[in-house]
Amino acid sequence: MSTTATAPTRATEPKEFRSDLKPIWCPGCGDFGVLQALYRALASVGRPPHEIAFVSGIGCSSRIPGYTTAYGFNSVHGRALPIAQGIKIANPDLLVIVAGGDGDGFSIGGGHLPHAVRRNLDLTYLVMDNQIYGLTKGQLSPTSPRGLQTVTSGYGSIEDPVNPLLYVLAYGAGFVAQGTPADMPGLTAVIEEALRFPGFAFVNVQSPCVTFGEEEQQLRAHKANMQSLAGLGHDPADRLRAMALASDYGRELHTGVFYRNPEPAPTYDALVRQRQADLSPGVVPRERVLDRFRQDGGR
C-alpha cells in the first residue's frame, strides 16, 4: 500500500470530502442538501476519504459518490447493495456507504434490500426518496402516492406505494432513521449516527425533486409539516412503537431515529473475520488445497 507516513490519518473538515466534479442536479434539488449533510457528518466521523468506499446505483441521486473524494463506485441500476457487501467482506476495515434513489433501492433493486438487512453487514444505506423518477423525466416511482399523475400514469396511479421505513424495520435493521434537507442539523445528525452505528443502518431522506415533484414534497412543505420523533417523545429502543410511527409514511413526515438497537448484533463482516481467524491460524500455503484429492493421503 502506498501510504505516506506524514499524511494525516483523520479528515475533519467537510471540504476534504468535496471533489471537483460539479453536480448535474437541478438547482434547488434536495440532493445538494444531502451532500452537504454528508460532508459534515463525514468530517465529524473523521475517517480519511481513502478509507471510504461509496457505492451507488443509477438515478439522479446515484451520482453522489462522484461528488466526494472517497473511493466511489457509480455502478448499475439497483445493484449498489450487493456490490457494497462484496467490498465490505473483502476489506472490513473500510467505511462503506451506499446511496441511491427510491427507484434504485425499492423497485429494481428491491430484492436485495431484505438480504442486505438480514445479513447485517456494517453498512450505511442512504436513500434519497423523492417519490418520482427524475433522471428519466417524471415517471411513477415505487414510493409515488396512489393517484399520482405522471407521464406513465396519466390517469393516476392505481397502486399503493411501498413503505421503506416499515419494510426495513420488519427486515430487522438495527438502525432506521429519516431526515430532510429542510432540517440540515437533524439530517446531518442522523447520517452521522448511521455512519457510526455498528451494523446495517438505513436513512431515508425525503429529498425533493424540484423539477418533477409535487408541491407538498418540496422543502417549504417539509418545513411546515415535519415532526421530530424526539419531539413526539419516541424512544428509539422501542421497535414496535417505531413500526407504528413508520406506518405513517406518506401521511406524516417524521424526522429523526425510528429505531436504534440498544444491543447491536454482531456484524456479518466481523463474523467473516472471526471464521477466517478460526480456520486459518497461520498462513496456509495455497498449493495445499490439492491435498484433499491425493490418493496416497498427501500431507
Partner: protein, 596 residues
C-alpha cells in the same frame, strides 16, 4: 490383455450404482490406473434411475470412451433410459439382473447382439450372502473384480474403509457379498476372458477429483479471496467446495440472494482489491450479463465460470452442452470484448482456471471460464500437478510515486493502467458503469468513448498471441484438420489417434482461448488443411460460426455439431474424418482424370 475397459451401469435409486462406480474409480486410482467416471441421473430429486460409466485404463484416458465393454443392468427400464450414454455394441459383455426374467438371447436392445449376456442373480446373491439387497453394489464390485481382474485388493480395502464407521458386521456382510460376486464369476466364466492389464506402479501425488472441485481448488491456488454465487446445477459444487475451504486461505464465500447479487458482490470485492469469482450455469449467466458489462467498463478483474448445460431457459440442467459460446462472447451490450477460456478435461480445468484469474488480473477484465456438465461432474484421475511451474499473476497496482496525481484510466502503451483500491492513499477514484474519461469523470463525449473503447478492446490483443492457450496434436502439415473445444476436445484426441491408425494424416487444434478469435493461430493451423471438421456439442455449431465471422475457413472444413446430451463417440468422429478424406481423395483423382 486389454489396456482399457469401459463399464456402464444403471439401476434405480437405492441400488447403489453410483456408489459402486465411486468405489471402482477410487480403487482403480489407488492401484495406479488412469480412470474417468461420469454419472447421469433422471430428474427426480431422490430415487429414480441413475447410471454411471467408469473407464479404467493403463494409459491416459481423455474422455469417457465410446461403446461399453461391460454393461451392468439392474433393470432394463432404467438401463434403456440412458441409451445414448450407455451404448452397447457387439463387443459388449452384458451382466443383468436375473430377476428381470429376460432370456439372454431376448435382451431389449435394438439392433445389436452383445458379445455375451449373463443373467446374474444380483439381488438373490446379496440377500443370501449379506442378508440384504442393499449389498447389491458389493456383489457388482465382486463380479467386476472377478471377471476383469480390476483392482481387487484396492476395492476390498476401499470398501472396508468406507464402511468402517457403520460397524464390523456391515463390513463383513459387504465382504461376503463381494466374495459372492467373485464366486459367481468364477463359476460362470466368460466364453473369452477379458482381463485388464496391470497398471504401472502408482505415482505419488496422483489426484482423483471432479471438474467443479478442481476449478474451486484452482481458484484458491490462483489467490481467489472472494466468491459470490447462487446455487445452480451443474455448477453448485464449486460454491460448496469454496464454502468449506476458502476461509483457510483468508477468503470468504457469500451465498447471495440471487445470481445478480452473487456477481455484484464479486465485482465489489474485486474493486476492493480481492481476486474474485462467481460461478453459474446458463440461466444464471443470462442474469449476470449486465454486471459483466460493468466489470468490462470499470476495468475490474473478475472470473465468471459457466458450467454449461442444455438450454435455452431451464433446458436440460443435468446434461452437458456447448451452446453458450455465443452468449459468453456476445451477451454484453455495447462494444465489449471479454476473454472466454474453455477447459478440456478435469485435469486441464486446474491450469485453465488459474489462467482465467491471471488474464482477469493482468488485463483488468472479466473472463468467462466455459466449463460444461460433463467435465464439471465427471471424476478423473489426474497426474500429479507441479504447482511450482504454474505462475500466479497479480494486478498491476500503483507503485511508489504513482499515487501522486493518480489517474485511474491513464492512457498507457499496453492499455492497462495501474489499478488502486480503497485503503490506498492517493489512489482515490470513481469507478463507474457510465462512460468516463481517464480520471474517471463521467462523460458523454464521443471522442472519449471511442478512445476508451480502443483502450478496453486493444489491451486484450496480446492474448491472441499466447501459444500456450492453443494446443495442436497430430501430423504437422496434414491435409485433414479437426478443431474442437471443451469436453469434445478429449473425444477428438482419441478420434485423431483412431484416424491416424487408419492411415489418415490429420491434426487437431484445441483452443483454450475460444474468444476473442486468435486469427493468426487458426490461419497457421489451416494453412495445410484442405478438409476437416469443427466438432462441438451444439445444434448450430457455435465455434464454427464464430470462426467464420473472423476467418475464411478452407472450403472442405465443415461443422460437425450435435445438440447437448448427445455424446460424441471417438469412432464416429474418426469415421466423419475418413469420409472427408475420401471426398478429398476423389476430388484430387477427378482433377487428374485425363480430359476426353
Amino acid at each position: 490383455m486389454r489396456g482399457d475397459l469401459v463399464i456402464g451401469m444403471a439401476g434405480s435409486g437405492g441400488d447403489g450404482i453410483v456408489s459402486a462406480g465411486e468405489s471402482l474409480i477410487a480403487a482403480a486410482a489407488a492401484e495406479g490406473y488412469h480412470a474417468v467416471m461420469t454419472k447421469s441421473f433422471g430428474s427426480q430429486i431422490r430415487g429414480g434411475e441413475s447410471s454411471c460409466r467408469v473407464r479404467v485404463a493403463t494409459s491416459e484416458v481423455l474422455n469417457p470412451g465410446g461403446a461399453l465393454d461391460v454393461a451392468v443392468a439392474l433393470n432394463w427400464d432404467d438401463f434403456l433410459m440412458f441409451g445414448a450414454e450407455l451404448p452397447v455394441s457387439g463387443a459388449t459383455v452384458v451382466l443383468y439382473d436375473a430377476k428381470t426374467g429376460v432370456a439372454p438371447d431376448k435382451l431389449p436392445l435394438v439392433g445389436v447382439t452383445p458379445r455375451e449376456a449373463l443373467a446374474v442373480p444380483f439381488a438373490n446373491l446379496a440377500r443370501e450372502h449379506a442378508g440384504t439387497e442393499r449389498a447389491k453394489s458389493s456383489v457388482i464390485l465382486g463380479l467386476i473384480a472377478g471377471y476383469f481382474e480390476v483392482a481387487r485388493e484396492a476395492l476390498l480395502h476401499g470398501m472396508r474403509r468406507k464402511l468402517a464407521k457403520k460397524g464390523e458386521s456391515v463390513v463383513e456382510s459387504a465382504e461376503r457379498a463381494f466374495a459372492a460376486g467373485e464366486g459367481w464369476a468364477a463359476a460362470h466364466p466368460l466364453r473369452e476372458p477379458m482381463p485388464l492389464a496391470r497398471p504401472a506402479e502408482p505415482v505419488p501425488g496422483k489426484l482423483l477429483a471432479d471438474g467443479n472441485e478442481i476449478c474451486a481448488a484452482a481458484a484458491i491456488f490462483a489467490g481467489c479471496r472472494f466468491f459470490g454465487g447462487y446455487p445452480i446445477t451443474p455448477s453448485t459444487e464449486i460454491m460448496q467446495f469454496l464454502s468449506r475451504e476458502i476461509w483457510k486461505y483468508g477468503g470468504a464465500v457469500l451465498q447471495a440472494e440471487d445470481e445478480i447479487a452473487g456477481i455484484g458482490a464479486a465485482v465489489g470485492a474485486s474493486f476492493a482489491g480481492a481476486k474474485a469469482m462467481t460461478a453459474t450455469s446458463g440461466p444464471g449467466m443470462s442474469l449476470k450479463s449486465e454486471i459483466m458489462g460493468l466489470a468490462t467498463i470499470a476495468e475490474l478483474p473478475l472470473v465468471v465460470v459457466n458450467v454449461q448445460r442444455g438450454g435455452p431457459s431451464t433446458g436440460i440442467p443435468t446434461k452437458p452442452e456447448q451452446a453458450d459460446l455465443f452468449q459468453a462472447a456476445f451477451s454484453a451490450h455495447g462494444d465489449a470484448v471479454r476473454p472466454v477460456l474453455a477447459p478440456t478435461s478435469v485435469a486441464d480445468t486446474f491450469w485453465t482456471t488459474v489462467q482465467a484469474f491471471n488474464i482477469a488480473e493482468r488485463y483488468q477484465t472479466p473472463v468467462v471460464l466455459l466449463s460444461d456438465q460433463e467435465i464439471a461432474q465427471r471424476k478423473e484421475t489426474i497426474e500429479p500437478i507441479d504447482t511450482s511451474t504454474i505462475a500466479v499473476e497479480e494486478r498491476r497496482r500503483p507503485g511508489e510515486g504513482e499515487t501522486q496525481d493518480y489517474v485511474r484510466f491513464r492512457t498507457t502503451a499496453s492499455g492497462v493502467s495501474p489499478i488502486s483500491e480503497p485503503g490506498m492513499r492517493g489512489g482515490n477514484y470513481l469507478a463507474s458503469g457510465i462512460e468516463h474519461n481517464e480520471r474517471g469523470a463521467p462523460t458523454a463525449s464521443g471522442a472519449v468513448h471511442a478512445r476508451m473503447n480502443e483502450k478496453r478492446i486493444g489491451k486484450l490483443e496480446p492474448l491472441k498471441r499466447r501459444r500456450d492457450l492453443f494446443r495442436v496434436f497430430g501430423n504437422d502439415g496434414a491435409p485433414l484438420g479437426l478443431v474442437s473445444w471443451g469436453s469434445s476436445a478429449g473425444v477428438c484426441r482419441e478420434a485423431l489417434a483412431i484416424a491416424q491408425g487408419m492411415g489418415l494424416r490429420a491434426k487437431l487444434l484445441v483452443p483454450c482461448l475460444v474468444y476473442p478469435v486468435a486469427e493468426e493461430m487458426y490461419r497457421e493451423f489451416f494453412a495445410s488443411v484442405r478438409a476437416g471438421l469443427v466438432v462441438e456439442q451444439s445444434h448450430q455449431g457455435q465455434l464454427y460460426r464464430v470462426l467464420r465471422m473472423f476467418l475464411d475457413l478452407p472450403k472442405g472444413v465443415r461443422s460437425f455439431a450435435k445438440s447437448g446430451a448427445n455424446p460424441f463417440l471417438p469412432t464416429e468422429v474418426a469415421e466423419h474424418l475418413r469420409t472427408a478424406a475420401l471426398a478429398l481423395q476423389r476430388e484430387a483423382e477427378d482433377a487428374r482424370e485425363p480430359q476426353e
